[in-house]
C-alpha cells in the first residue's frame, strides 16, 4: 500500500460501466514525511475520503477488489484514511 494525499475530485459521467457508482479522487503520492513524490494520480475511493485527507491506496490487481463490480480496470484504489503516521526507527 502507498501513501497519498487527496487534492481534488474528478467527475466522469461517460465511463466504463464497471466504474458505475465509483467516486474518483485526485491523489498526490507522498512519502512518510508527507513530502510530494512521483506524479499525481487518479484513484477510486472506497472510504469516502475528502480533500486534504492523508490516505493509503492499493495498486496492482488488488486495487480491483474493493469495488462493487469485480471486473473493473482500476489500478489505484484508496482503501484507508490515515489518522497518524508515527515515524520511529
Amino acid at each position: 500500500m502507498l501513501l497519498g494525499k487527496v487534492i481534488g475530485r474528478l467527475v466522469a459521467t461517460q465511463k466504463l460501466s464497471a466504474f458505475t457508482g465509483v467516486k474518483f479522487l485526485v491523489v498526490q503520492p507522498i512519502d512518510e514525511d508527507r513530502k510530494t513524490i512521483n506524479e499525481i494520480i487518479v484513484a477510486c475511493d472506497t472510504v469516502q475520503a475528502g480533500e486534504g485527507d492523508t490516505v493509503f491506496y492499493e495498486t496492482g490487481r488488488e486495487a480491483t477488489f474493493p469495488l462493487p463490480d469485480r471486473m473493473n480496470p482500476s489500478d489505484a484504489t484508496i482503501t484507508a484514511i490515515v489518522d497518524h503516521i508515527n515515524k520511529d526507527g
Partner: protein, 90 residues
C-alpha cells in the same frame, strides 16, 4: 520479496473492512548494505516487527491473500520475516 527497514507505523480507523485487526507498518525498502532504495511502503505485519527492524516484505498479492486467508483482501505487501543477518557475495 524485498528487504526493508521498519521506520514507523500507520494508525487508521476509517478503512476497508479487510484491514480490521491488522497492524500496518511503514517500511523503507533497503539493499543488503542498508542503503535506502525506493519509496516508503505500508505493509501488513505478520511477525510483530518493531521500529528499526530489518524485515523481509512479500510484495505479491496472491501470496498475501493466502497468508491472510481471504480471497478479496486488498493487500499486496506483507511483512513475512525478521532478518537476523545477511551474507552475500557481490
Amino acid at each position: 520479496m524485498i528487504l526493508g527497514r521498519i521506520i514507523g507505523n500507520i494508525v487508521s480507523t476509517v478503512k476497508h473492512s479487510a484491514y480490521q485487526g491488522l497492524k500496518i507498518l511503514m517500511v523503507q525498502p533497503i539493499d543488503p548494505m542498508n542503503q535506502d532504495t525506493g519509496t516508503v511502503i505500508a505493509a501488513v505485519d505478520k511477525v510483530q516487527a518493531g521500529p528499526g527492524d530489518h524485515v523481509l516484505v512479500m510484495t505479491e498479492g496472491n501470496s498475501a491473500r493466502q497468508l491472510l486467508q481471504s480471497q478479496d483482501t486488498p493487500v499486496n505487501m506483507v511483512i513475512v520475516g525478521l532478518v537476523d543477518n545477511i551474507e552475500y557475495d557481490n
